[in-house]
């Protein structure tokens, strides 16, 4: 019953962009129809999920035969899928509302209808990926999702930069799909059916199991954006419309994580190297992702690299849980997977919030260049507050939701040290690594906030920025409220997580006793409330002092300069310069230094940046040299028909000689 309800909701969402196609390009009716259908479908989906949570016995699987070769239309919803479906419906609906003014039909006559059609299709594709219980159906949904996302990234296809980013995405996603074809073929070979998600038989050869893990990890890792498979991610996120970036980062990446969670659950007792590999890959991805983020000058590229960091943290948690399965440690399973899934949920709240904020800034100031912004905190106060909440949350700082997710992972890592044998205590080194990630995240987001919102405007456009329309602010405020809520009362998420963990590792479930037996949730709520109360009391006292005593305004004290200008402020690039130089051995920054000559030197320009090492420094040069090498093969392709006849003749002669 519940499953049917979900499938119908998904169908409504998939259909949401179609009526708009039948209407005039100039009318705004189509976008309202699309938004209403999208929100209705997502609300119905959300209601179905609540129904599943309350009465799981009513969510029976659907199985329908179909005429295509292989497989059947087979769908089901379970507790692991629930965690991934919640953000899909929530962010799709909020994004559709946001799009009403961000990508209004009357201002984007050419591509608005296409965007809304693909929006519905991508949402439906993502939901079907989670619901599918048949390998062929899964791949179909996966491709619909990937192609719809391609068209969404390419919305502004008239710009060269956008086209390039979209092509890189298309190539990367199909390399991933190729791996998944291999994965599902091998899975069918091993289990004899396309049914998902099976438990591998104990008799399976280690080589096949290893092949399944590697193919699955690479295929899903590309979608999730794990370093060094992240090449498509920064460009696509930066160049897509902001609400599309919000869904890409908040939700689409998580389908890759969903795949990883399923792949690691295939073997009841996976070999220890599965978990160890994911743990190392996740840690490396988190550190490198945030290190690249700190060096970025583009607002949305910075957020995109931070997504790589967050996916790294999630993969670290999945790796810890997989290791817990191998070592028969229920506490590692509960804390690792619980932390990873909570971070999935959290990241799908604060990252769309930040991308939507970035969209508002882009709308108002027409630039993504951080160093051209400034002073927006005063110009856009209603964007500023949710953005600060999102930034604090994404750094994993208390008292917001990001902290709770990272706390679970830390407790898992530290328990591995406190109670393990010597060899596995090394897993605990993940804790200082996470601390490094946390410190770098603070650096990155303070840079973002400090350059974009603080100080004085660095450009004319930024000086006249204004808060966006209500339909763009509402989704941000809603997401910020969710971040505060989970931070204050994490217990509302714990029940869902416990059930998902029990579903992922049925053997461990009841014995482990759930997250609450390892993490004192009540104390966390108490401390969060105390922190809010202390800050509130301090703020009130300060406000009282300010009104009573002599307080006045003056220019910033800039150490004696009477008239400091906006151009004398510290720029974002200068702020991150120390970190970028310390990490130059991995970031490979470039810089263009001017030559300053003479006593009265003329104006000079300095420019620096941090490119993507994998894409710009390795893959692109490799592809370019391959293209150059293959260019030599063109020698044989000369054009005149006589030459080709000569080729045919000489081949025939050769064949005659050798026959």
């Amino acid at each position: 019953m519940t499953t049917w309800w979900l499938v119908i909701a998904v169908a409504v969402v998939a259909f949401s962009g179609v009526p708009g196609l039948l209407m005039s390009r100039r009318s705004s009716v189509g976008q309202w129809v699309a938004a209403v259908l999208n929100v209705l479908g997502c609300a119905a989906g959300g209601a179905a999920l609540i129904n599943h949570y309350v009465r799981p016995e009513r969510s029976t699987a659907i199985r329908l035969a179909w005429a295509l070769p292989f497989g059947q239309f087979s769908c089901a919803v379970d507790d692991v899928g629930l965690i991934f479906l919640v953000p899909i419906f929530l962010i799709s609906a909020l994004g559709a509302v946001y799009g009403l003014s961000y990508w209004a039909q009357r201002r984007h006559v050419g591509n608005g209808r296409k965007l809304r059609l693909c929006w519905g299709l991508m949402t439906a594709g993502m939901a079907m990926v989670v619901l599918a219980r048949d390998g062929v159906l899964f791949l179909m949904a996966w491709e619909i999702m990937a192609l719809a996302a391609f068209f969404l990234v390419a919305t502004e296809e008239n710009k060269g930069e956008v086209r390039e980013a979209a092509w890189v995405y298309l190539v990367a996603t199909h390399v991933g799909t190729l791996c998944l074809f291999g994965f599902f073929a091998l899975l069918r070979q091993a289990t004899g059916a396309f049914e998902l998600w099976p438990s591998l038989p104990a008799s399976i050869s280690p080589a096949v199991a290893a092949g399944l893990f590697v193919l699955g990890a690479v295929g899903f890792g590309i979608k999730a954006g794990v370093m060094p498979l992240h090449v498509w991610l920064p460009g696509a996120h930066a160049n897509a419309p902001s609400h599309v970036s919000a869904v890409l980062s908040g939700v689409l990446l998580k389908t890759g994580v969903y795949g990883l969670v399923r792949v690691t659950a295939l073997a009841p007792h996976p070999p220890a190297w599965w978990g160890a590999t994911l743990l190392v890959a996740g840690t490396a991805s988190a550190i490198l992702g945030i290190a690249f983020a700190v060096g970025q000058r583009d607002l949305k590229r910075l957020l995109a690299y931070s997504s790589i960091e967050n996916v790294g943290i999630i993969v670290l948690g999945v790796g810890l849980a997989t290791l817990g399965r191998s070592l028969h440690r229920p506490d590692l399973v509960v804390l690792g997977l619980g932390g990873a899934l909570l971070h999935v949920l959290n990241h799908s709240l604060f990252k769309p919030l930040l991308f939507m904020g970035a969209g508002g800034i882009l709308h108002a100031a027409h630039t993504r260049e951080i160093d051209l912004l400034g002073g927006l905190g005063k110009r856009m106060p209603r964007t500023f507050l949710p953005f600060v909440i999102g930034a604090v949350a994404i750094c994993g700082l208390p008292p917001l939701n990001g902290f709770i997710g990272e706390l679970l992972l830390y407790v898992g890592l530290l328990r591995a040290v406190a109670t393990s044998s010597r060899a596995w205590a090394a897993v605990g080194l993940g804790a200082p690594a996470l601390a490094l990630v946390g410190a770098l995240a603070v650096a990155g987001f303070v840079k973002l906030l400090g350059t974009v919102f603080a100080g004085a405007a660095r450009s004319e456009r930024a000086a006249h920025a204004r808060d966006p329309a209500g339909s763009m602010l509402l989704p941000m405020w809603a997401l910020a409220a969710c971040c505060v809520l989970i931070g204050l009362v994490p217990v509302i998420a714990i029940g869902v997580l416990d059930r998902a963990v029990a579903g992922w590792a049925p053997i461990m479930g009841p014995a482990a006793g759930g997250i609450r037996s390892f993490v004192p949730v009540g104390w966390l709520t108490g401390m969060s409330v105390a922190l809010f109360a202390a800050v509130g009391a301090g703020g009130l006292w300060l406000a009282g002092r300010r009104s009573r005593s002599t307080s006045r305004s003056a220019g910033t004290w800039d150490c004696g300069y009477a008239r400091p200008t906006a151009r004398m402020q510290y720029s974002g690039s200068s702020f991150s310069q120390m970190i970028v130089e310390l990490l130059a051995w991995v970031l490979w920054p470039w810089r263009r230094r001017p030559r300053i000559e003479g006593i009265f030197a003329g104006p000079a320009e300095f420019e620096s940046g941090v490119p993507d090492v994998v894409l710009d420094r390795s893959l692109m040069p490799a592809f370019d040299s391959a293209a150059w090498l293959l260019g030599w093969a063109r020698v044989v392709q000369r054009g005149p028909i006589q030459v080709y006849l000569l080729y045919v003749l000489s081949i025939l002669v050769l064949l005659l000689l050798f026959a």
Binding site: P398, A435, V442, A443, G450, A454, C559, Q569
Partner: protein, 307 residues
């Protein structure tokens, strides 16, 4: 029950009242080394009282982040102080995983201190903020490496049993080498986090070379008082953490132990004063090397535990 209420009460009194005294002791020590009389021991208290009575000046570029920054910082540092056991006594608030909250409260404080600094739009405060967040990238992993050693030693992940483990574990079972390395590493982190020589000079008047002081150039009056008091509390809390790893003496009789704790804390302050008098400030580009060395000391301590 009664004893735990008394412990909590004394904890609060010491945590709220003693921090400025540490600053006074440091300054007195430095004055003695320099052959001066120096300011009175209680001078930091007088300074705070004077600042609290003054008016405030706000830069026209600042927003609510500037005004809330010091408040959030002080609240975070005080809450962190409630998680740390002082001397042999248990912390008022303790639960499994509180060490993560402890470290992240300092992260929250750093976030708002640096954001408030950037809010003024001053290039100097930007420099200070950039240095603060950069050096934190070294000191935070070092703190967690030290915690790993203590977690392994105590088999626990709560600060009270972890920090007390160096004197609850029998002397024969103590990994002395690890603890010495961790103590050295944590002392460097203590100096760095509190912006003392050789990382930063709290008395310098050259804005280009400062870290913490330059970030608070624009704060005035009670707001500056909150900033200075918060910095003192941070010094107190981190000194209390470092003290545990240095194997302090214990008597088992509560009043004497509290007295010993106060004397030992003043001893840490004297040690900081001696370091400040005996050393010059490092060049800014050499600071990361020192902090990496601190992380490596703590990391080596952990590796020795795994031996």
């Amino acid at each position: 029950m009664v004893s735990s209420i008394i412990t909590t009460f004394v904890h609060l009194v010491l945590m709220l009242g003693m921090p400025p005294l540490l600053l006074g002791v440091i300054n007195k020590t430095k004055a003695l080394f320099a052959g001066r009389v120096g300011p009175p021991l209680l001078q930091p208290y007088y300074d705070l009282a004077r600042l609290m009575r003054k008016g405030m000046v706000f830069s026209t570029t600042t927003t609510w982040v500037f005004r809330l920054g010091p408040v959030v910082t002080l609240a975070a540092v005080l809450l962190a102080g409630l998680l740390v056991p002082l001397g042999p006594f248990a912390a008022p608030i303790r639960f499994g995983g509180d060490l993560i909250l402890f470290a992240y409260l300092f992260g929250l404080a750093r976030f708002f201190t640096t954001a408030a600094a950037l809010d003024t739009g001053s290039a100097f405060e930007g420099m200070g903020a950039a240095r603060e967040v950069t050096f934190a990238c070294f000191s935070e992993p070092a703190i967690f490496l030290a915690f790993l050693v203590l977690a392994k030693l105590s088999g626990s992940i709560s600060l009270t049993p972890m920090l007390r483990s160096p004197h609850t574990v029998p002397l024969m079972g103590l990994p002395v080498a690890s603890l010495v390395l961790v103590a050295a590493g944590l002392f460097v982190v203590l100096l760095a986090e509190n912006c003392r020589i050789p990382i930063d000079d709290p008395n310098t008047h050259l804005e280009l070379t400062m870290i913490h002081e330059v970030m608070v150039l624009d704060h005035s009056g009670p707001l500056l008082g909150i900033v200075l008091y918060g910095a003192a509390v941070k010094l107190f809390v981190l000194s209390a953490v470092v003290l545990h790893v240095m194997l302090p003496a214990r008597t088992g009789w509560a009043p004497a132990d509290w007295g010993l704790f106060v004397v030992e804390m003043l001893g840490v302050a004297v040690a900081i004063g001696v370091v400040e008098s005996a050393m010059a400030r490092l060049q800014m580009r050499h600071v990361p090397t020192l902090l990496v060395a601190a992380s490596l000391l703590c990391g080596l301590g952990f590796l020795l535990m795994l031996r």
